[in-house]
């Protein structure tokens, strides 16, 4: 048991990554990183050292919070700017929610940086990569630690900016550029909501301090319509960042960045910021029926829609992107039913197994040079470590006992059952779909025969087509193994509900009764695991069967009878499975089309409308000076007429 963490140390958590960003940028600008082998890799080491230190300090923060049972350790805010009556403060705050987020961000980030040493080796943008990664992690830490909402918004925008820079990292690809722009613009639409919410709460209550806003909301000091609009504005921002329907369109495209970036974006930084925001303002959401319902409905739609889309995607990273969207939908759903503990717990476990899945995909890509699952296959033999760890992650995602995902997903299901049964059934359907796409991904990638891969276009492997896939170097495998261990075990930390306590310990007194609480229900656990296994089984039947039959013929193993029998007895079932599969595919394809043509269409349509009017108006700028003069006089006449319209109408006698 350490002493309570002093404020300076909390600031250090934030400033270590920023410092490493500054040092790397400075060194790069001065041209120190170009020559020599040690200097060339110094930025990687520096970043890791900084984040490792942040991680250790975050543990201290967690320890302090545990002593307080998750209650807020408030530090005095510091005056930043005062203008007349306006005063802006900056400050940090640490409570249960913050501490958990700090651990997630720093630990996942650390592992990702470590892994990147292997993945990015030889890439010409190595220094830039680490500089951005430091900035990215630092901004996320700042977002989590912020004690007032304006400060939070500043870091929020920084996180968006960094993800823009990192998604567009391989800028020579046209698709990367477009994806980066799309991500930036779409999330900004959500940010508008966020900004309006800030302005609203500021004008209505004169408060920017998060604790104060929560307190005012919980004690009913703010009018209910203000609360609702404020919460909806926040949720718009959260939906943009966390890729919730209908602002989810940017995330699948955001796969254009380097894979470790995707891992970081999906697991610990960018996208969970939205969930964090809703959780941070949970006391506000919970007192507004409309807002909380919006969260739950949007979450549910997102969870189901994204999961079904994941079933038809062929790019392994796209599958995972949809999976992330779907899981974020789960977290939102959980928040919507009032289960803040379960939501953040799921965020916590999800961070580890989703990072693992992405790093596994990166490892696969490293070996085969492609992300297209149709060009993979049979990798289990060539890359056993990757195969095993990815499988662990996949099973955790499905929620198989006793992996991490089981515990958190189970908790969401239980609390949903207790609060809103309809949501429970939706969530259960989601579990099934999740299992199907996870199974499909695993079977297509690691099962069957190797289908040749593709020439890689990044890093040192550029343009060299691997003759045979090979296992990745140890720097990449070590994080996989560590994450796999975590994905197996972190679920147990909450077995006594201790995590829920610290996650809910900071909530204002008045809102405690509104927080969902469900007791362990055995049948729900059993059913959810069974549904998950059923989904995996279905995936096996559809995507792996062919391979099994081929092996069965060549090996002509002993229980031919059994297999024959099985084939026989599967026939009818199989028919229906195929039919169902086709129907499901159809539905998913329809959703995909909706996604592509309607939602994208609206976004693109607005953009082309702007472009069109732009093209039209510029023609008015004809270069004719006299036309410009005419504009002045016409302007004068119109303005005079509109200001004096009453008088003029009087003259004409109207």
């Amino acid at each position: 048991m350490l002493n309570q963490i002093p404020e300076g140390v909390v600031w250090a958590i934030l400033f270590l990554p920023f410092g490493s960003f500054a040092v790397i940028s400075l060194a790069a600008l001065l041209g120190l990183t170009r020559t020599g082998s040690w200097e060339a890799r110094f930025s990687g080491y520096l970043t890791m050292a900084a984040i490792a230190a942040s991680f250790l300090l975050s543990l201290w923060a967690l320890d302090s919070v545990l002593q307080e049972d998750g209650a807020r350790i408030g530090y005095d805010a510091h005056e930043w700017v005062t203008v007349g009556s306006l005063r802006f403060d900056i400050g940090v705050t640490v409570d249960g929610l913050t501490a958990i987020m700090l651990i997630v961000v720093t630990s996942v980030s650390l592992l990702v940086q470590f892994y990147s040493q292997g993945y990015m080796r030889g890439d010409p943008g190595y220094n830039r990569y680490y500089a951005f990664m430091s900035l990215f992690t630092g901004s996320m830490l700042g977002l989590v630690l912020a004690s007032n909402i304006l400060q939070l918004f500043v870091f929020w925008e920084l996180v968006g900016l960094c993800s823009y820079l990192l998604i567009g990292f391989w800028f020579y690809r046209d698709s990367a550029r477009r994806a980066a722009t799309k991500a930036f613009v779409v999330t900004r639409i959500g940010d508008l909501g966020f900004l309006s919410a800030i302005l609203l709460i500021w004008t209505k209550t004169d408060q920017l301090d998060i604790g104060q806003i929560q307190h005012l909301a919980a004690t009913g000091m703010i009018g209910s319509s203000v609360i609702t609009w404020f919460a909806l504005g926040l949720f718009a921002g959260a939906a943009g960042k966390s890729a919730q329907f209908p602002l989810h369109v940017w995330l699948p495209d955001a796969m254009e960045g380097p894979t470790p970036v995707s891992a970081l974006i999906h697991a610990a930084t960018m996208v969970v910021a939205g969930v964090y925001l809703v959780a941070r303002f949970f006391p506000v959401f919970i007192v507004s029926e409309e807002a909380i319902n919006a969260v739950v409905v949007v979450g549910a739609i997102t969870a189901i829609m994204a999961a079904s889309l994941a079933i038809v995607a062929t790019d392994i990273k796209r599958v995972m992107a949809y999976s992330t969207i779907s899981q974020l939908g789960y977290m939102m759903m959980a928040l919507g039913v009032g289960a803040i503990g379960a939501a953040i717990f799921h965020l916590f476990t999800h961070a580890f197994f989703k990072a693992l899945l992405f790093l596994g995909a990166g490892s696969v890509n490293h070996a085969t040079g492609t992300f297209d699952m149709r060009k993979m296959g049979g990798l289990a033999r060539f890359m056993p470590v990757t195969f095993l760890t990815t499988t662990v992650a996949g099973l955790a995602l499905v929620g198989v006992f006793p992996l991490a995902g089981f515990w958190s997903k189970d908790e969401i299901l239980i609390e949903a059952w207790a609060e809103k049964p309809l949501i429970f059934w939706t969530a259960l359907a989601g579990v099934f779909l999740t299992a199907v796409y996870v199974g499909r991904m695993l079977f297509l990638t690691f099962g069957g025969e190797y289908k040749g891969g593709e020439a890689s276009d990044h890093g040192a492997q550029a343009n060299s087509r691997p003759a045979e896939p090979h296992e990745s170097p140890w720097v990449m495998l070590l994080p996989l193994v560590v994450l796999a261990t975590l994905a197996t075990t972190v679920g147990f930390v909450n077995i006594t509900g201790g995590m829920n306590d610290i996650l809910e310990g900071w909530l204002p007194e008045e809102t405690h009764e509104l927080v969902a609480a469900g007791d362990f229900v055995l049948w729900i656990s059993v059913v959810s695991v069974a549904v998950g296994l059923a989904g995996l089984g279905l995936a096996w039947a559809i995507y792996s069967r062919k391979a099994i039959r081929a092996e069965e013929v060549s090996a002509a193993l002993e229980p031919v009878q059994v297999l024959l029998d099985r084939k026989y007895y599967l026939d009818d079932l199989y028919e229906t499975v195929i039919v169902k599969g086709v129907i499901m595919r159809g539905a998913a394809a329809a959703l995909h089309a909706w996604d592509r043509y309607v939602i994208d269409g609206v976004v693109n349509g607005l953009a082309s409308l702007m472009r069109f009017s732009s093209e039209k108006y510029r023609l008015a700028q004809s270069g004719q000076a006299q036309l410009y003069g005419a504009a002045i006089f016409i302007g004068v006449i119109v303005i005079v007429a509109s200001v004096l319209q009453d008088e003029l109408l009087g003259i004409v006698g109207l």
Binding site: L29, L199, L644
Partner: protein
């Protein structure tokens, strides 16, 4: 003596302009031997002039030498001093940025002299409180700038000069017509007295007053570059020498806002008329922002794009003016928002134009498409331009973010929520075209690998601008306090 003393910052600029011309004659007489030193020495003289002007203004504050001068023609108060610093600083940065640019031009001395003269005119615009002096200052600024725009004497520059001159002359005439009516209604050219008479006026003079008001808006709207008086902006910005474009976009625009604030807050500040002009400004603000941003979307020339963007920015400043006329406490908020925004905008836009000078002079093109891969050829310049564009977009931690928050907050406080919404929506559109430049610099393949090395003076100017906007973004207090103090003049 007090009068001369208070007029010092302007006077020293004009004196230095004369010294530069005389020194140039001296060089011509001295023959070719001293020719090598001519350009740097003239640049140094011009910089000395701006520095002296800044120091003089600082001394006026230090010795508390504020007040009226020349029997009520000029009032040196916090507002005037704020703009003294702004204009002298802008001129200094522009001069720094011009030294390399003028390497092959024969008329260096005239160029610096004209910059200094127009700077003096701008300062005068911010400090005069009499219509006659306002007109003289307006023309001093304008005529110097007409010459500067046409300075390169090639087809484009001359064309820009002609357009600027024609439309400038028309606008002056229109503004003058408004002033004549104001004089006819009130019998005075002093802003204070006009304000007094206007506040006591009965309904009879309303039509004439509105007419005068609209003529003044049109005349000064030309300088501020707001719709529909903005049509000259893209053409002139594109054709003028780039340092002059930078000067136009910052100095001339700020001068327009300064004089509009003086006239409208002092002479036309009475409630009966101020609600009219506030509404006009609110609507013009919305139109300027939207039209400027939308048209900027498809521009291929970066100077032209920055021209359209400056129209949109002017629209954003106008929000502050629209806010002013609301209830009393807002007076301070709106005015100081405009002042603060002008301060941040000076750094931001100067930085952007300096980067354009450096990059374009090397690649020989102003086309955004030719900025491909600049990040590889000059990481520092690309970074600098990126920061400036981020600030124009309004992304933290740059100064532009604080300024936008400040202005939008002012609008919301004054119950102009719709205007704030239009503004925020516009900043999304703006993000698109600013980032297009950034993307192009960072993500496209460069046409050549040759690195771009800006000269020392240009580099220094760039550093000043970028560091300035970052410092304001992180520690906005000093500038905020200064703009508040300046705004309090009208309180």
């Amino acid at each position: 003596m007090d009068s001369v003393n208070r007029f010092g910052p302007e006077l020293i600029l004009l004196a230095m302009a004369a010294v530069i011309i005389l020194a140039d004659i001296g060089w011509a007489l001295a023959g070719t031997g001293a020719e090598r030193m001519r350009r740097p020495a003239l640049g140094a003289l011009a910089l000395t002039g701006t520095a002296a002007s800044i120091i003089w203004s600082a001394l006026l504050i230090a010795f508390d030498e504020q007040g009226e001068a020349f029997s009520g023609m000029i009032r040196v108060d916090d507002f005037a001093l704020f703009f003294n610093f702004l204009f002298a600083g802008t001129a200094a940065i522009v001069i720094l940025a011009s030294i390399d640019f003028l390497r092959r031009n024969r008329f260096v001395a005239e160029y610096y002299a004209l910059i200094l003269a127009s700077t003096a005119g701008m300062m005068l615009l911010a400090s005069t409180i009499d219509l006659i002096a306002i007109f003289v200052a307006l023309e001093l600024t304008g005529i110097s700038l007409y010459i500067l725009v046409a300075f390169m004497k090639d087809g484009r520059s001359s064309e820009a000069g002609l357009k600027y001159l024609l439309l400038g002359a028309i606008s002056s005439a229109v503004a003058l017509y408004g002033m004549a009516y104001l004089f006819g209604i009130t019998g005075s050219t002093s802003l204070d007295e006009i304000g007094l008479v206007v506040s006591e006026a009965n309904g009879e003079t309303r039509s004439a007053l509105v007419l005068a008001m609209v003529f003044l808006i049109a005349g000064f709207g030309f300088k501020m570059a707001i719709v529909p008086f903005q049509m000259w902006v893209p053409d002139v910005y594109e054709g003028a020498p780039t340092p002059v474009t930078a000067f136009l976009s910052v100095g001339s625009k700020a001068a327009g806002f300064a004089v509009v604030m003086r006239i409208f807050l002092t002479a036309l500040g009475d409630g009966s008329i101020s609600s009219d002009w506030a509404t006009v400004f609110a609507i013009l603000a919305a139109i300027s922002m939207s039209l400027g941003n939308i048209t900027a979307l498809v521009q291929g020339n970066i100077k032209r794009m920055l021209g359209y963007s400056s129209i949109a920015q002017a629209g954003t400043f106008l929000i502050g003016l629209a806010v002013v006329a609301a209830a009393d406490p807002q007076l301070l908020l709106g005015t100081s928002a405009v002042l603060f925004f002008l301060g941040t905008y000076a750094f931001t836009n100067l930085g952007a134009f300096i980067a354009v000078i450096a990059i374009s002079s090397k690649i020989g093109s102003d086309q955004i498409a030719d900025y491909a891969g600049v990040a590889k050829r000059s990481p520092l310049l690309a970074l600098g331009l990126t920061i400036c564009l981020l600030s124009l977009t309004g992304i933290p931690p740059t100064a532009g973010f604080i300024a936008k928050v400040y202005v939008f907050n002012a609008a919301v406080q004054a119950d102009l929520v719709w205007l704030a919404i239009v503004g925020v929506l516009n900043s999304v559109v703006a993000a698109y075209y600013y980032l297009r430049v950034v993307l192009n610099m960072y993500t496209a393949e460069p046409a050549s690998e040759e690195s771009i090395q800006p000269g020392y003076y240009l580099g220094l100017a760039m550093v000043v601008a970028v560091v300035g906007l970052l410092v304001i973004g992180i520690f906005p207090s000093p500038l905020l306090e200064a703009s508040e103090a300046a705004a309090r003049v009208f309180g």
